[in-house]
């Protein structure tokens, strides 16, 4: 690792001052489980690492039944998935965050870091997309809100400008008759990177026999986590039956643009998109009916 300076601001204002002055040569450090590996192999070579873990705003974790869940960008995964409100209202976030790395990684890694790292295979991003989450981004004198579905711009790149920091991720309050689910395929049982990952969100009508809205997002099949809007358009208003869910799987397969690599061929990944999309939608429906 090349020489690097380190600062640990204890207020958002001082963090933003640092980024205003030298954001172009600074990397923001949260859990460090991705960035320290990148620094070590010199894929990133900042002059300054700015540790964000002592900034109060980035440590918020709060749930409001009207406005939803606010997750500070530096909240470690183990705190998130152990939170009673997250477990109760957002089980899909638990699906995602309990399979990122192993226990020691979850002791450091953050949801904000998983998002900013913008890996096509990130397990948490499809879940955030289908839940309709937004990212609150700040710079000195400016705050903006970006939909998570538009946050990633390519493998490892995102919409953040050099003077900006991700402050919180905001997930809307859960609607009645709705649930979400995330699953991935890996050849092992744990500690692996998704060959394909699928997040789904389903909202049914009051009698539970028609889809009101469905969102599906895929990991590891495109340069960024993929939001399959074709499924949302197709399933909205349709009957809940195997035929329609089968068609949704087909739409996921058609929307995917996978590459072949060591984890799987493009053809295999497309097949997985179809299978996992059906399973995940069915799991979301099970969650609605079980509640």
């Amino acid at each position: 690792m090349k020489y690097v300076d380190y600062e640990r601001p204890t207020s958002l204002k001082s963090a933003l001052d640092i980024l205003s002055e030298k954001g172009d040569v600074t990397k923001v450090l949260a859990g460090g489980t991705d960035i320290l590996v990148k620094l070590r192999v010199r894929r990133e070579q900042p002059d300054l690492l700015m540790d964000s873990k002592e900034i109060p705003e980035l440590n918020e974790l709060s749930f409001n039944p009207d406005t939803g869940l606010t997750i500070g960008a530096a909240v470690p995964l183990y705190k998130l998935y152990a939170d009673a409100d997250v477990k109760k209202h957002y089980p899909a976030l638990v699906d995602s965050t309990t399979i990122i790395g192993g226990i020691p990684i979850q002791g450091r890694a953050t949801l904000g870091g998983n998002l900013c790292n913008a890996a096509p295979s990130a397990d948490a991003i499809p879940t955030l997309i289908v839940l309709g989450a937004t990212a609150t981004i700040q710079s000195s004198g400016n705050t903006r809100e970006v939909s998570v579905s538009e946050f990633c711009t390519g493998p490892g790149s995102n919409v953040l400008k050099s003077n900006e920091i991700l402050v919180t991720i905001n997930v809307p309050a859960p609607a009645d008759n709705s649930a979400a689910h995330y699953m991935r395929f890996i050849p092992r049982n744990e500690m692996d990177i998704a060959v394909v990952g699928v997040g789904s969100y389903v909202k049914l009508n009051a009698s539970g026999d028609k889809f009101e809205s469905v969102n599906v997002s895929l990991a590891s099949v495109a340069p960024t986590p993929l939001n399959v809007t074709e499924i949302s358009e197709f399933l909205s208003g349709k009957d809940v039956n195997d035929e329609n869910i089968e068609k949704a799987g087909q739409l996921a397969k058609e929307a995917s643009k996978p590459i072949s690599d060591m984890r799987g061929t493009a053809e295999y990944r497309q097949h997985l998109c179809s299978v996992l999309t059906k399973r995940s939608i069915n799991k979301s429906i099970e969650r609605i009916k079980g509640a």
Binding site: Y3, G32, L36, V37, R40, G107
Partner: protein, 162 residues
């Protein structure tokens, strides 16, 4: 060139101060700066778990933590597990169950086991394998390690009961 930073921390209950460059990992600081070589280096990228330590009550791979990040924090390393010359029940269980061969992964496994049993004194085999998935052993094939963890839980419970 960056300057060295002064870090104050508590390791195994004792106050420890050291100087390090910001780029140095906690693992490097433990081994090369402080001279505590019980924590081992394996992959140096978070996969193998040989460098596992407990930081503020959570297991972490010390290769993915910077030395400067532990300023003001508390750590437990393998050196803090035994009570003087008296082995911890987890260490005894690993020996009795032959849960090690070359031994490089063992400090990480013992730390991870300690943390598991602190959080969950009576884990199922599935929970043990899940919790220890971030620790790799190339010698034993894991079955003996799982049995050692089960035995550790029994020993700790017997000790608390007796």
């Amino acid at each position: 060139m960056s300057k060295k930073v002064h870090v104050q921390t508590k390791i195994n209950g004792e106050d420890v101060e050291f100087l390090c460059e910001p780029r140095q990992s906690l693992l490097e600081c433990l081994r090369d700066v402080i001279g505590m070589t019980g924590t081992k280096e394996g992959c140096n990228d978070g996969n193998c778990g040989a460098c596992t330590v407990i930081l503020e009550g959570r297991t972490v791979t010390s290769c993915l933590v910077l030395g400067v990040e532990v300023d003001g924090k508390e750590l437990t390393t393998i050196e803090g597990i035994a009570d003087g010359d008296k082995l911890h029940p987890i260490q005894t269980a690993f020996l009795e169950n032959a849960a090690l061969q070359c031994g490089i992964c063992t400090p990480g496994f013992i730390i991870a086991t300690k943390s598991l049993l602190d959080h969950n004194p009576d884990p199922s085999e599935y929970e043990i394998r899940w919790w220890l998935a971030n620790n790799l052993c190339r010698c034993t094939g894991y079955d003996k390690i799982v049995r050692a963890v089960q035995d550790s839980a029994k020993k700790i419970k017997a000790q608390a009961g007796g």
